[in-house]
């Protein structure tokens, strides 16, 4: 039996397979298909200080080997999460991570502070990289000073495991990663979606109500893998890798590149059982290659 446990800062996960924020609801949506208790963790939907209606429909466009979304952080706000959703989550035996989103510094701080007080939530993922809201989180994620500031301020009020989710829409993601590490992030997760656009040639209109949206799915995997590799060689905190992971082989690639855990997003839409299949596949890979622990392949890429 291989050891699949993995550590993200002070947080010990039973295994390194996490479902990505915005693609797995609150986990409950998937209980008919899989035993979500077997997941390493679940990153819940982006949560903001106040209720948000999100963007207008249409919010989705299919693209080659991927999709664009422009959900725009629709959620009922952090208080609703704490009072009405979280109590139900306590029934599950997996780790829930709250994806904290915002459009202003104070929003992040206040939301993080509220989640800090929630017993059963041991970590937040600070989403400074959502491309889908005006004056949205992405502005923080693409500027090293802004990224540093939000992490610094959140760190003051948030005392559990702080994961910062990075934007791929930058010239040099290493600089942003380093900046948030310096301010006390316990881990970074990447990548969030890439800013993209879809056009309906016959209607001559954008497909999304917001014109641009966030690209995810297998199409982004090569970019995500490169960024995980770059960041893992830059920071000393754990890196959580994601972007297009659809099967165990993809996941292994991210571990080899240096990811301590991985997240699965868009692939859940095509196969709601994919996360546990990936978990099983990782275990099979480790056994086939005679490893005893997932840690043995993390960053193990051979460079000649």
């Amino acid at each position: 039996m291989v050891n699949l446990t993995t550590k993200i800062g002070g947080l010990l996960l039973q295994n390194p397979v996490i479902t990505a924020s915005g693609t797995f609801g609150y986990g409950e949506e998937y209980v008919d298909f899989i035993d979500i208790n077997q997941l390493g963790a679940i990153c819940v939907k982006g949560t903001t200080l106040h209720h948000r209606e999100g963007n207008l429909y249409p919010r989705m466009a299919e693209t080659p080997a991927g999709m664009l979304n422009a959900v725009g952080l629709q959620n009922k706000g952090v208080d609703y999460f704490i009072n009405s959703i979280n109590p139900r989550l306590k029934a599950f035996q997996t780790t829930f991570i709250v994806n904290v989103s915002g459009s202003a510094l104070d929003d992040y701080i206040e939301t993080a502070e509220k989640i800090n007080a929630v017993d059963n939530i041991p970590a937040i993922e600070l989403n400074i990289s959502c491309p889908n809201v005006k004056q949205g989180g992405m502005a923080f994620g693409v500027d090293k000073d802004a990224a540093a500031e939000v992490v610094k301020e959140v760190r003051k009020v948030y005392h559990k495991t702080l994961i910062v989710k990075l934007s791929p829409n930058v010239t040099d993601i290493k600089i942003i990663a380093k900046a948030v590490e310096n301010e006390g992030a316990d881990a970074v997760s990447l990548i969030n979606t890439l800013l993209g656009m879809a056009i309906d040639a016959e209607m001559q209109t954008p497909v999304l109500s917001t014109i641009t949206g966030g690209l995810s799915g297998p199409c982004v995997k090569p970019i995500a893998l490169r960024m995980v590799w770059e960041v893992a060689h830059t920071v000393n905190i754990p890196v959580i890798g994601m972007g297009g992971i659809s099967n165990a082989r993809d996941a292994v690639e991210f571990f080899l590149a240096g990811a301590t855990a991985i997240q699965i997003g868009t692939a859940n839409f095509i196969d709601p059982t994919v996360s546990l299949n990936v978990l099983q596949g990782i275990q099979d890979y480790l056994e086939r290659h005679h490893y005893t622990s997932i840690s043995e392949i993390i960053g193990a890429l051979k460079i000649s």
Binding site: G22, V71, F269
Partner: protein, 255 residues
């Protein structure tokens, strides 16, 4: 309602006209409860341009044969590929999804089911269920022309059928909202079809204070309420068509 993921076997693929076909699918296990208005998400293998699942209403359910029908219009690569699928092949489905049409309180209800184009799909199942429950539904079906009228024989099995065609080749000429059957009084209207048609039906229903339910077709990624892509504006804010719908009472919609 519990959702499932599983492989179905194609038992028949029947071409209805140039752009429509009917898939009959059978399941290896007893069917779970499936209600009229619910839909499935079909995984399309081996079509590079079909990345996400494709969403289709459940056209008819035969519990004894463990069979469902899916009525499909060819519009793009995904539906094109499905049109070429052969009996014996497997299709992976997530089912049954979404809410359902509400069933009438009284067996005496006079019900009108208005469908346009491939939007007739869920109405056959709804009509068959109503018939089972002792209410004979009235189907009002609109199409461009005679060729666009599909499954009419099936509808005749379950209720009264009224037809409009835009070119007048069959039934009354014009749009569904112009059909003379509307001069009767109805307790409830159910509708599915192109959005302009459903909006016209909703206006008609509002005018005559008839309760009206429509089935929406928003673009979906997950189909199970996880991605929040499929929303429609309602009196209660954005709601997911895949979980709060696809059936909405038109009073709820911000149209």
């Amino acid at each position: 309602m519990k959702k499932f993921i599983g492989d179905w076997i194609i038992s028949a693929n029947i071409s209805l006209n140039k752009s429509n076909f009917l898939l009959k699918l059978t399941y290896s296990e007893p069917l779970p409860l499936i209600l009229p208005g619910q839909f499935v998400q079909i995984k399309i293998d081996n079509v590079s341009s079909a990345f996400l699942r494709r969403t289709f209403s459940i056209n008819y359910v035969n519990v004894d044969k463990k069979e469902i029908w899916i009525l499909i219009q060819i519009v793009g690569d995904g539906t094109q590929a499905l049109s070429k699928s052969k009996p014996g092949e497997k299709l992976n489905l997530i089912f049954p999804l979404g809410n359902a049409f509400s069933m009438p309180y009284s067996k005496k209800s006079n019900l009108l089911l208005i469908g346009g184009g491939v939007g007739i799909a869920p109405l056959l199942f709804l009509g068959s269920k109503l018939k089972e429950e002792g209410v004979t539904p009235n189907f009002l079906i609109g199409a461009k022309n005679a060729d666009g009228l599909i499954e009419l024989d099936e509808f005749h099995k379950h209720g009264n059928v009224f037809v409009t065609t835009e070119d007048g080749s069959v039934g009354e000429k014009g749009f569904v909202t112009e059909h003379s059957v509307l001069q009767n009084t109805f307790d409830k209207i159910y509708s599915c079809g192109p959005t302009p048609m459903m909006k016209a039906v909703a206006r008609y229903a509002e005018k005559y204070s008839i309760d009206c339910e429509v089935s929406l077709e928003n673009k979906m990624a997950c189909g199970i309420g996880a991605c929040l892509c499929c929303v429609t504006p309602t009196q209660h804010g954005h709601q997911c068509v895949c979980t709060e719908g696809p059936v909405f009472n038109t009073k709820e919609l911000v149209w």
